[in-house]
Structure formats: C-alpha cells, structure tokens
C-alpha cells in the first residue's frame, strides 16, 4: 500500500519534471506543426471561422506564453507604477489583443514552409532565442525569433520578433504615449476599445 502511494507520489513529482525537459526549440517546432496541421485541416477554420481559430490558439499556443512578462516588458517603467488590479487588467487586455492579431496572421497563412534553425544555446541557459524561418517563393525568408525563458512550468515565450521587429519593443512607445496622455487607466480603456470594436461603433 505504502509502496503504491510512493510510486504515485513519485509520478506526480516526475510529471512536471518531464514537462520541463522539453527543449525550447523542440517545443516551438511541435506547437507550430500542430497548429499548422489543425488550421489546414479544420473545416470551420478553412471556411473562415474566427471563433474556431481563436479557440485553437487559446488551447494550443497560449499555455506557452508568459503574458505577465510580456506586458511588464511592454509597459517598461509604467509597470512599477501600476496597481495589482491594473496589472491584471493590462495583462488580460494585451493578451486578447495579441491573440486577435495572431489569429489574423494565421488566417493569412497559405502553405508557407517552415525552416527550424538549430538552437544555439548551452544546456544551462535559462534565456534563449529559438529561430524559425518562413520560406516564401520569390522573397527573402521571414525570420521569426521566439525569446524564451525557463520557468517552473516549462519554457515560456516572452517576446516574438518577426523579421527583426520585436513585438514587445514595438508596443513600448505606443503604451508609454498613451499612458503619458491619459494615464494607465486610459491605456486599459484604449486596449479594451481596440479589443471590442463593436461596443463603441456599432458597425464593422
């Protein structure tokens, strides 16, 4: 009896350890392949269903992102000036915005091929960049760099660079401008309005 408990306990302890074992580049590759497979096969998505697309992203992609870290980086100095409640809402709205944008990017996907670059990192590294290249005919390949950090629950993405443009860095100026003009609550409001265009305009 005791032995069974001990075995079960060791499994429970080992399971998260195994989850952490997945190397960051392996993780990026498997998630990318899974998502591409899903969106090219799923009937609803092929018929243009945004809801289903967002569902896939939320189930497959979101768990591997650290939105708290992303929002903190995008906020820069203003992060320290935010209350815990503001931080929570900012993270939530930023996450929604990124998911929506990501869905649009995926909707434009049309059979481009991915080239997974070998990871250049030491096994002891806790902060790495995983490089993927999107190959398209007649144009230079587009690079996607995932900045990833090792956390207690596996590797998490905290920034994405597309063609050398860091998403987090790009939101920095926007965020700081908005905060300067209308405060942190103003930024939350702007993000919310951006995420819910129907509330305000009635059209579109």
């Amino acid at each position: 009896m005791n032995r069974i408990v001990a075995i079960m306990l060791s499994w429970a302890l080992l399971a998260p350890a195994f989850a952490q074992e997945v190397a960051p580049d392996v993780l990026v590759k498997s998630v990318t392949q899974e998502v591409v497979e899903l969106i090219t096969k799923d009937r609803e998505i092929k018929a243009g269903s945004r809801a289903k697309l967002i569902e896939v992203i939320e189930a497959k992609v979101l768990p591997h992102f650290n939105f708290g870290a992303m929002t903190a980086l995008a906020m820069g100095q203003n992060w320290g000036k935010s209350t815990p409640e503001q931080k929570k809402r900012l993270t939530e709205e930023f996450k929604t915005l990124l998911v929506r944008t990501y869905a649009s990017a995926l909707a434009a996907y049309s059979e481009q091929k991915f080239d997974y670059r070998p990871l250049r990192a030491k096994p002891t590294d806790t902060d790495v960049t995983v490089n993927v290249r999107v190959i398209q005919p007649g144009a230079q390949a587009v690079t996607i760099d995932y900045s990833m950090e090792k956390t207690g629950s596996g590797w998490k993405v905290y920034d994405v660079m597309v063609g050398g443009v860091s998403l987090v860095a790009n939101y920095r100026t926007e965020f700081s401008n908005t905060v300067r003009n209308s405060g942190i609550d103003g930024l939350i409001k702007s993000l919310h309005a951006k995420n819910h265009p129907a509330d305000k305009q009635g059209k579109k």
């Binding site: 980086l73 820069g76 915005l97 929506r100 944008t101 649009s104 990017a105 434009a108 049309s110 005919p137 007649g138 144009a139 230079q140 390949a141 690079t143 920034d159 063609g163 050398g164 443009v165 860091s166 987090v168 860095a169 790009n170 920095r172 100026t173 926007e174 965020f175 401008n177 908005t178 300067r180 702007s190 993000l191 951006k194």
Partner: protein, 239 residues
C-alpha cells in the same frame, strides 16, 4: 543620369528643410528623438492613407481578385529577378562577396532557365534570395539613419534611406526601359502587385496598433536596423 540623382537628392533635401520648419511648429512636448518632424510626417501619413484607401487599396483588391495567386507570384518573381542585380551590387559594396556572387548567379539562372525571372528556379537550387538596398549599404558603412521621414506615396523612410531609395530607383535597369510607356506600365504593375501582396499585412497593422502611425514607424525603424545587420543586430536589452 547624374542630374537625375542630383535632382532626387535635392528633392529629399528640400523635404527635410520643409519638415524641419513644420516640425518646429508642432507642440514642444516630450518628443520621440528619432522623429523630430512628427507633425509634418503625420500630415504626409494622412495624405498617403487617403490615397491608399481610395485608390491603391481598391485597385490592389480588384487585381488580387482578378488574378490567381500563381500568376501574381510570377509577376512578383519577374520584378524580384531584376532587383537581384542591384541586391548583388549592394552586397559587393558591403564586402559580402559570396552573397553578391550568389545574387548574380540567381539573376543568371532565373533570367534563363526561369524564363525571364518568372520562375524562381535559383531558390529551388539553394541560392537564397537576399534583401539589400543602398540605404542598407550606407548603414553598413556607418551612416546613422537620421530623422524618420514619411515620403509621399512611398511611406516610411529616414533621411539616409530616402537618399538610398532615390539611388535604388535611378540605378535600377528598369528605369532604362524604353519606350517610356512600357516602363511606366511596368512600374504601375509592380506597384499594384506589391500593394496586393501587402493587403494582409496592412489589415494586420490596423488590428494590432493603437496608433498606427507610431506602430508603423517603430516597426520600420526596427526592421531597417535588423536588415542592416542581416537579421542579427546587436541585441538591445529590454530592461
């Protein structure tokens, strides 16, 4: 030819002076140091946006509907092939001889086996397509980008890249095509095809940005910096 370069450069210079004047008129709040002419730039941006909304985009959309993706790719390939000549020149100017030889080999193969470039056979044979222009060469030589500029019709640029673009156009063999009518038709086709390619990207921009002007500017400046270092610029650590 020489005069033309000069005229273009003069025009860019004039634009800078104009920008400097209007820039001063803008409110003296905490300003983005890389964009001292923001007031002027936003004006041009609005103009470009209107032009885009009422002319360029509708034309590009119709074009995209009328022609199959396959054909549009061929059109894109045709122009991309001509550009490979000067992509090579710029690689040589930056001391990247191997890349330059690669680009010229691409041009040679694609112009012949690829039927005037409409088939990108070189890529299939492992000769990679590069992205180079005079603006990047100046950057590689150590020229700072200078203030951000929004050029009429052409969009995001900087003083350095504006001069580079003027050179790109005048140096390109496409500018020597005669009769003029044919050349202009080709330019038109090139612009429409390019805009059609960017329809998805511009919709994305609309969705992602709180302030499209700022988002586009920052993305452009980041992108150019990355291109100058061929994709691996010294990392700017986000604290």
């Amino acid at each position: 030819m020489k005069c033309r370069v000069k005229c273009r450069v003069n025009r860019v210079f004039l634009l800078c002076v104009l920008a400097a004047l209007t820039g001063c008129a803008a409110n003296g709040e905490e300003r983005e140091p890389r964009d001292p002419f923001e007031g002027f730039n936003r004006g041009v941006y609005r103009f470009n946006d209107t032009f885009d909304e009422y002319l360029a985009q509708p034309v590009a959309r119709t074009y995209r509907k009328a022609l199959h993706q396959e054909i549009r790719t061929r059109v894109g390939n045709f122009f991309a092939n001509i550009q490979d000549i000067f992509i090579g020149v710029n690689n040589f100017l930056q001391g990247k001889v191997q890349d330059g030889v690669n680009d010229w080999a691409r041009f040679a193969f694609n112009s012949t086996f690829g039927l005037l470039g409409i088939h990108d056979v070189a890529s299939e044979w492992g000769l990679e397509k590069h992205n180079e222009d005079f603006g990047q060469t100046f950057g590689r030589w150590g020229s700072p980008p200078g203030p951000y500029l929004v050029l009429p019709f052409l969009g995001s640029s900087t003083v350095r890249d504006g001069v580079g673009t003027a050179l790109d156009y005048t140096a390109s063999p496409a500018s020597e095509i005669r009769p003029i009518n044919l050349r202009n038709s080709l330019y038109g086709l090139y612009l429409v095809n390019t805009r059609a390619d960017l329809l998805d990207a511009s919709r994305l921009l609309e969705e992602a940005a709180l302030d499209r002007y700022v988002f586009q500017r920052d993305a452009f400046l980041q992108r150019r910096r990355s291109l100058i270092y061929d994709g691996s610029p010294p990392r700017e650590k986000l604290e």
